[in-house]
């Protein structure tokens, strides 16, 4: 049988990136921004999106120079063999930890809202099995999955939010622009980290059919995600008010709990919402899992990526079980995103871009 020939379109790239970015981060996003900047949350999200866009475009400038290559290959040409391999391996570890976080958060939230008596281990393993199946299938089925799941999830979310409209109180968004700038600056990392996931572009760009169109993919991704974040945050804040929002652990789930569809057969739809959320968490997990296995296979020089998927599963599983409770989990998550996240999301791509700029200049001088 023919293998898939591993080519995706820029629109598919956008679907992959969007489903990757929207994952566990969205649950706590309204709380973080409401805590930080209060009524000016919408402005903060717009600023964050511009930052994410700039960042995405920087990465685009980097990957454009190396069509068909992933981080593993171009980091080695730019930094030398050893350092490049170390950086790539670190990225693989980063993605593995990221996967573990997704699995754990998924387990905790599902246990809290959907299946109260099911052990965390069962939930984690079943989700991982699913992710293994998809990650083994290769890039094209992943692209097709995101393409199908993203519209379904967005459409349902919008549909479900509609009945909330009469209950929203826009006065919670006043006064406008009274927040001190200092607060803005201290909250920016929180919103920036909610765009975590966009860095898989460094790996997935290699498969895009027309590398020039990656730019469109980045624009599309940031646009879609920002729209999603903005509407969710504004709706949560105007529904609950600032005080309430900033005191909830997962305001978005609480928001869905309050939805009462008039005249509907089903009364409490949070189980239904959870199902939609499971879809998006699963996609995030599958994409980063695939990214990790791909990097590892390129590092080891093996052509087949799918054999490496299964051995990674126990690693992710045990990493996911390390935190003892939710409090510890969020503590670890904070540290993880602060150190590794900052390093791989912002420092590595920018550093690589700068180095590639220098190298190009050198090369240009030589040829001239």
């Amino acid at each position: 049988m023919k293998r898939n020939n591993d080519v995706i379109l820029s629109s598919q790239l956008a679907a992959i990136l969007s489903t990757t970015i929207i994952g566990v981060g969205i649950l706590s996003l309204p709380r973080d921004v409401a805590e930080g900047v209060g009524p000016d949350s919408w402005l903060l999200i717009l600023i964050g999106s511009i930052l994410a866009l700039i960042h995405g475009l920087l990465m685009y400038c980097l990957v454009r120079k190396f069509p068909g290559e992933t981080l593993v290959e171009f980091s080695q040409t730019l930094l030398g063999k050893v350092l490049g391999k170390v950086i790539s391996f670190g990225f693989c570890i980063y993605l593995l930890i990221f996967s573990a976080v997704e699995v754990r958060v998924f387990g905790e939230v599902t246990k809290q809202y959907l299946l109260f008596n099911t052990p965390l281990e069962v939930l984690g393993i079943t989700l991982l099995i699913l992710a293994v199946y998809l990650a083994r299938s290769g890039i094209e089925p992943i692209a097709r999955m995101s393409e199908i799941i993203f519209p379904i999830a967005t459409f349902t979310a919008v549909l479900i939010i509609l009945p909330l409209m009469p209950e929203l109180d826009m006065s919670y968004l006043k006064p406008v622009l009274r927040t001190p700038i200092k607060k803005f600056i201290t909250t920016i990392p929180a919103i920036f980290f909610s765009y975590v996931g966009i860095e898989v572009l460094l790996v997935f760009s290699a498969f895009v059919k027309d590398p020039k169109k990656i730019k469109n993919g980045v624009f599309l991704t940031v646009g879609l995600v920002t729209f999603f974040y903005l509407s969710i945050t504004v709706i949560t804040i105007t529904r609950f008010g600032l005080e309430e929002t900033s005191h909830m652990t997962t305001p978005v789930l609480e928001l869905f709990k309050t939805i009462d569809i008039p005249g509907a057969f089903v009364e409490n739809i949070e189980a239904f919402i959870m199902s939609i959320w499971i879809l998006s968490v699963f996609m995030t997990l599958a994409v980063i899992y695939y990214g990790a296995s791909l990097i590892l296979s390129r590092l080891l020089g093996s052509k087949e990526q799918n054999y490496l998927v299964l051995p990674l599963m126990p690693i992710i599983y045990f990493l996911a079980l390390i935190p003892d409770n939710v409090a510890q989990l969020s503590e670890y998550m904070e540290k993880f995103s602060l150190y590794m996240g900052t390093f791989y999301i912002s420092l590595v791509p920018i550093a690589l871009l700068v180095i590639s700029g220098f190298k190009k200049k050198k090369g240009g001088n030589k040829s001239a």
Binding site: T126, L134, E147, I149, A271
Partner: protein, 529 residues
């Protein structure tokens, strides 16, 4: 068309050695008799030709397969009676007697000359008549196929309210004629081959040269060539031997009994595979969407067609998830229901001794039993089974307290939903998956339902039918937004100017003259000048 010539140029080599035809009628006849020894349905007839009765001829045919009238009236009569009137001593005749027989005496339309006895035997066994002439190293094969056939009747498995009620029959020739009648285009190609070492079943690949997807056609040809099986009795053999993924529960080829359905698919750019001795044709590539379409969708006005199509999508979803959702909600998430309903459900399940999964499993299994028994039983008893089954499944089970009334409703809805799917093979795969989904719903509640749905979705994302993604056009790599005109809804014809993009063919214009141009032409034909 160089491509098409290349594609069909290569002939499969016959593994048997060629037996040359000798110049002696007796010897040839003996050879045929030796090979066909023990078959009493083969008729051998030797006779003499010419006014001097010097030339010995023989004919061989299979009784029942060959048209006896044709052989008697137009072959034997001409050779034995009429040829005597000709003067064989005329110089021209003496040297060209065989040409004269071939071109002037036999009044049948289809004649072939062959020089291999093995080939002749294949022909004899498929209903042709072999004419052995004295002192000539070739045999004449007279097309005399003619056996009792079932007449063209309404297809029993795919009925429509509006549309032709012609269905395929068991004879390949009749079936190709039914298709040809709907496509009077010189570009309609019917490429015939034989598959099966022993059965030598005729298989025809049918396509329209200018709309077909060449990659698919090439794949079909290659895969059919690769088949080496002793017998092909039904299209199912072919389907299973050429499908992309045999592990998949989903059919990767569509079968149909309707010539209009085949013609419609050929116009869309697909390839049809017809097999002799079966009234079913295969259509490839098949995608999830094509399996959910009925020919009637295109005959009805678009409002009705679109509404029915939406209903069909909902029914497929229902047949898959409804019992699973019942299990998940009653055993894990009763809070999802409004309080009154939750209380009612709990109350009605009060006397039921089983957990929801066992209850649902029992009822669904009983339903499948009923269905299977209904198919196997002869028609007059079949309705009895329906009544008994209906009573057992419904009233009696509830009164005995084995199942709750709500469960009966769920089962009935699921059954109806499953039967609303136009393609039986596709419906049955969903029926199978329903049981898996029920089991997972019993373990993991709604998460289990989502889990199985995701597994199915991943599988479908992986699946391809002859290189075309099974979920086309929902996945973008080969499609454009235009394709959605004919998916959930069917837009009126004048909006659908292109053929479906996901089957990527050459000539993409379906409807050129739309309503608007017709109207302007009526108003004034100045634009044309």
């Amino acid at each position: 068309m160089g491509f098409f010539d290349d594609l069909f140029a290569k002939k499969k080599e016959d593994p048997r050695p060629k037996i040359p035809v000798e110049k002696n009628c007796e010897k040839n006849l003996d050879k045929i008799k030796e090979i066909l020894a023990g078959s009493d349905d083969i008729i051998y007839r030797t006779f003499f030709v010419g006014n001097e009765q010097k030339m010995k001829f023989a004919i061989v045919y299979t009784e029942g397969l060959a048209d006896k009238n044709l052989v008697n009236e137009y072959v034997l009569k001409n050779l034995m009676v009429l040829s005597r009137m000709a003067d064989m001593e005329v110089h021209a005749f003496r040297h060209q007697v065989y040409e004269v027989i071939k071109d002037g005496t036999l009044s049948v339309s289809d004649l072939k000359e062959i020089d291999d006895i093995n080939l002749a035997i294949d022909m004899i066994l498929s209903g042709e008549t072999a004419l052995i002439l004295d002192e000539w190293d070739k045999l004449l094969i007279i097309a005399s196929k003619g056996w009792p056939t079932r007449s063209v009747s309404e297809p029993s498995t795919e009925t429509v309210i509006r549309g032709p009620s012609e269905g395929f029959t068991e004879t390949l020739r009749v079936n190709t004629a039914l298709i040809r009648r709907r496509i009077r285009d010189p570009k309609l190609k019917i490429h015939q081959m034989q598959i099966g070492r022993r059965s030598k079943t005729d298989v025809a690949i049918v396509y329209i040269e200018e709309t077909v997807n060449k990659d698919v056609l090439k794949m079909v040809k290659e895969r059919l060539d690769r088949i080496d099986i002793d017998a092909v009795l039904e299209t199912g053999y072919i389907e299973q031997l050429i499908e992309d993924n045999w592990r998949s529960p989903f059919p990767q080829a569509q079968y149909t009994q309707r010539p209009d359905s085949v013609a419609g698919s050929l116009y869309e750019g697909r390839v049809a595979i017809l097999v002799d001795n079966t009234p079913f044709a295969l259509l490839v590539p098949a995608t999830a969407i094509t399996l959910l379409q009925s020919p009637e969708d295109y005959y009805e006005r678009f409002f009705i067609a679109s509404a029915i199509r939406m209903l069909r999508f909902i029914s497929v979803a229902m047949s898959l998830v409804l019992p699973a959702i019942y299990i998940a909600i009653t055993s894990y998430h009763p809070g999802m229901l409004p309080t009154d309903l939750a209380l009612y459900v709990a109350g009605s399940r009060n006397n039921v001794p089983f957990p929801a999964f066992i209850e649902a499993f029992l009822m669904e299994a009983a339903l499948e039993l009923l269905r299977e028994a209904g198919i196997r039983l002869p028609a007059p008893i079949g309705s009895t089974i329906g009544i008994i089954g209906g009573l057992v499944l419904g009233q009696a089970a509830v009164e005995a307290g084995v199942v709750s009334p709500l469960m009966v409703i769920v089962v009935a809805l699921t059954a109806m939903a499953a039967y609303a799917t136009p393609n039986y093979g596709f419906a049955i795969s969903f029926r199978l998956l329903r049981f898996i989904m029920m089991a997972f719903a019993a373990f993991l509640g709604l998460y289990g339902v989502i889990w199985v749905l995701l597994v199915i979705l991943i599988h479908l994302c992986n699946l391809k039918s002859f290189g075309v993604p099974y979920l086309s056009p929902f996945v973008a790599s080969t499609t454009s937004l235009k394709d959605f005109k004919d998916i959930f809804i069917r837009l009126p014809w004048h909006f659908m100017k292109g053929r479906p993009q996901y089957l990527h063919r050459m000539d993409s214009d379906r409807l050129v003259n739309n309503r608007n141009t017709i109207e302007t032409e009526e108003g004034g034909t100045d634009e044309k000048k």
